[in-house]
Symmetry: C3
Subunit: 441 residues, 3 copies
């Protein structure tokens, strides 16, 4: 059965950037970790936009080589100087407390205290982001210059946290398409007040899911919002039997800054998502970087472990670890901008356009060119500043529509954006010059 060609994704949706930024703003203040109420509060915010399903997995559950850890919650924390002033205050920035810090209430000398304090001597005005999930520890993070100002004396430290049996929380939303074949879109939900890493990814995917919910698609789309590493491992352990449905996927993080864009390929290296993202980035920006897979990064580490080897890549603007704001208090709401979120959204949409529409056609007049002028196909595009490119797109589609080339193959060989090639194929099909072939090769 012929399915009507889906509309292009690269529509002019003015305001996507603003809407994504607004959601990121709401997510930013929450103190998230790999478990706890911060994650639940975050998922509740996302659930206002999309019908998110929330899962709780009990502490102690075995997930492959790992065990779901105890649940961590924190209410308050501070360091008081000898005069009783809160010189470090969790209420001012949740980065001040090392993630998963055990509760503590004690008084100790500055020298002793320093064993529990992390700073960035090379970025002395920024607070670092640190965690200690699997080794029991308590600690604080603060600006190096701030630490230097502290006088000797006895300091009172207090961390009102709890580390107890509970559960790990993640959220999932499945948009059902025509088939059960799935596209996995995954963002980590475990970082506290870091705007780019990953309020940006959570907000962008949520907005994308919201738009998608109103469309008919070929694939089903699974959105996963889970804590990094242990969250994706948990999800994979609980969904092992259905991962074969995942035909394409992206991990999305750090998509709000003005760097990049960066795409890190899946372990397979030549998966369709790899080719689609490479194509999109090549046409989106001369600054784009395409990186080969490496086993260090975000949750693609788990999706691309050898026992799964899923076709899942990583989409970012600046590459993680390569921008100075990374994992510091400078990764704040000034660091991400609506226009960058908008551009990232368009790139994601363009890649999905390829995934959805990458089929092959058969030229029904394969011997010599058909006479396009007689059918008004040259004049159809006259006056259009893209007319020469659109004519070339038609000639390329006709020349390569031999059943061996899909539209992405044609776009790559022609050096023309996929959307223009797809539109040329639609125009030629409407004029009876192409017949649709199967999506599958």
């Amino acid at each position: 059965m012929e399915r009507p060609a889906p509309a292009a994704w690269q529509v002019d949706e003015t305001g996507s950037g603003a809407a994504i930024y607004e959601l990121a703003q709401q997510l930013y203040p929450i103190c998230r970790s790999i478990t706890g109420n911060g994650v639940r509060d975050t998922l509740r915010l996302l659930a206002r936009c999309i019908p998110l399903e929330t899962h709780e997995v009990a502490t102690g559950t075995q997930v492959f080589d790992w065990t779901v850890p105890r649940e961590w919650n924190i209410r308050d924390a501070y360091i008081k100087d000898p005069n009783g002033r809160r010189v470090v205050d969790f209420r001012q920035s949740n980065l001040h407390v090392v993630g998963y810090s055990t509760p503590v209430r004690t008084t100790l000398s500055l020298e002793e205290l320093k064993k529990h304090i992390f700073t960035l001597p090379n970025q002395p005005d920024l607070i670092p982001y640190r965690t200690s999930y699997y080794a029991e520890f308590w600690g604080f993070c603060m600006a190096h210059n701030h630490l230097l100002e502290l006088a000797d004396g006895e300091y009172e430290v207090m961390i009102d946290s709890s580390l107890t049996d509970g559960s790990l929380t993640y959220g999932e939303f499945l948009h059902r398409g025509e088939t059960e074949d799935e596209v996995l879109l995954s963002a980590h939900v475990c970082h506290p007040s870091l705007a780019n890493d990953n309020c940006s990814g959570l907000a962008l995917l949520t907005h994308f899911a919201e738009t998608l919910a109103h469309r008919q698609t070929r694939y089903s789309y699974r959105f996963l919002f889970a804590p990094g590493t242990i969250g994706s491992i948990t999800w994979l352990a609980r969904n092992e039997s259905m991962v074969d449905r995942i035909k394409h996927g992206l991990v999305v993080s750090c998509v709000g800054d003005g760097g990049g864009p960066t795409y890190k390929k899946s372990r397979r290296g030549d998966a369709q998502i790899d080719r689609a993202m490479t194509h999109v980035l090549r046409h989106a920006s001369p600054k784009g970087s395409i990186l080969d897979f490496s086993p260090y990064g975000y949750d693609e580490r788990q999706y691309c472990s050898p026992g799964f080897d899923l076709p899942v890549g990583l989409f970012q603007r600046s590459q993680f670890g390569m921008f100075p704001e990374y994992h510091t208090s400078a990764d704040n709401l000034d660091f991400i901008r609506p226009e960058h979120l908008e551009a990232s959204y368009q790139m994601l949409a363009a890649a999905i356009d390829i995934i959805e529409n990458n089929c092959s056609h058969i030229n029904v007049n394969p011997k010599c060119e058909p006479q396009l002028g007689r059918r008004g196909l040259y004049t159809a595009i006259g006056g259009d500043k893209d007319a020469p490119a659109k004519s070339m797109a038609m000639l390329w589609v006709l020349n390569l529509s031999d059943g061996k080339h899909k539209l992405l193959d044609i776009a790559e060989q022609a050096g023309i954006p996929f959307a223009m090639i797809r539109e040329a194929a639609e125009l030629l099909s409407e004029n009876g010059l192409l017949s649709r072939a199967n999506f599958r090769p």
Copy 2:
């Protein structure tokens, strides 16, 4: 049966350039189009050199998706200014009339007239070349500066043309070789007074055919002189059952200027003609460009349509559309030079040398090197300034003559011109060190 190795094509034929240029000079003044007496006059000139067979295909004949158009002929045309002076005169340049202009005889204001006039504001002293084959229209082309000089007033325009049922004309010459496998060499015959595009190609191929007629060749060579697009489509439609014989081919146009050389690959991209031309251009000039196939250009568009997919590339000096003289009155007899035609001829000949002689041999002493010195093969080439290169050529031929490498493979791997590799193989064969293997892999 052993066939004697054909002599190298790259012989020093002083005067080829001059002879080709002289023929191009004779072709230049004729007003050609895709049909009509200009084409017939052109073919008659070529037939003085080679036994050309001329074909006439009636107007209205269906050729794939196209129909052979009415025949166009023109005798005279002019624009007279209010004072009765011929300010635009077909007799001075046949570019002045838009190709396939319908007959007209009227008087109209300058403003009305301008709707029928084409100029090049950015090249204000040149007359453009324009046609309107499939939309009924009449028009003139002139220098932009010339147009600016025209005063307001009533202008008399006259085009004494006819557009009537008749026929499309093309010429063909088949040089029979030892086999029925064919090399197709094709040049378009439809442009009026444009020296490079394509008096140069017509003259060069005719001269090449003339030389070839006196030689024994492995392949048969088919020379086709037909109008662009509709001519090659017509030929393919009438010869559909025999195109499988075509093993290699070249479209030849714009081979008289000093740019390039340029080779555009066949749709296959790795056909033997693609490798041969790439090899020839690499050794001929550091300025050479090898372009991937694209579905825009000359008649390779038809030969390489997906239903035929013939191994036919395009050989040019400057690439069409990329030199400022292209499709203007500056593409005249000063723009092409005998020395460039000579060089183009040598490149074509070098490619045919490869096509004719690309066989593999078997080293009869494959274990360790044979002792060349004992056979005088080192001293045989002493005193020769190419001696080190010739020694290397012998070592390469010996090392790779294992039945898996043809001479072009060896030339490519060695980075040595094919002719020198072929000569080394001949010398080694004469000394009993190689036995000839099959031409086919």
Copy 3:
């Protein structure tokens, strides 16, 4: 049966360079040629270090297309000027006599004498190295400036050499490993006082053999010290039936200067030794060059002739013929340095480390990453400046240990030196995270 992983070859063996240099110093004064007592003296020196087996092959023996030549020996040679002074003296440099010069004792004018003298006008203070193995001739080599100083007059020339039936001599040492599969390491033994070409190669391979003799290895190692061209041809002719055992090989020459390093690939181009040496050079130096095979060079010409096509490459520092000292008296003991010999030794050892240890493993927890922290594998390497690289090495080994990737594949994909990847695999194996797969694919 599990074999314990061999220790790394890249151990810190301070003094290897000094020991190799000392042996090269001893070899340097000997007047070697393709036959004769110089070769025997050389092999006797090597036999002090390793249990070398010496072979004598009689003059006239047919070896493939060649014949073992007469044996050449020389005792003294000089040119005396009109005053009876030895102006050219073999005792000062054995380069003064053209190799294989026939005996002569005569007096002749300077002009006549010059027909027998070779100089280097562009390097006027250096004595060239020349031979005439297969054409009977006598001659001298001297510095061009020295020649210019000679006054007219009668000169007495004397070469006390002999060219008689005798034998060709080569030496061989086989270190037996666990299997009969062999690694061939070959150095030419035929050049007189040229330190880099090839006292360096002879000394380096001898020292390597000495070290190897004390180790248990997977492969057997065959060391061959034979005259260039005729020696390797003779060896191949006498060992034709066993060459299939040779799985990897290197010709080693000119490894004592500070240039390069240079590796010329085997004819196969993608043999394991080609990949191993490419990997080693890439990590050893930014100045490294990897050259494709060509049929000109050292004994790889014979090993890689099409009838054998053995996986044998050429390892050098500066490429032969490309350094100004090549084949002149400037290739002396000042031109080679212990530190360069040491570095060359380490590169050879690193390549052998790859050849010996390039196996694949199976990740026993292939679904998601195993929890390395729980096993102390992150802290195991804490404080180590290479810790981040070692962690990455572990992640790469885990990710690619799917039975399809060997350690060299992993090292190449990771861009991490093989030894670090091998060590990571050993650490993971010790922790039960990997099981060893077969060496063979």
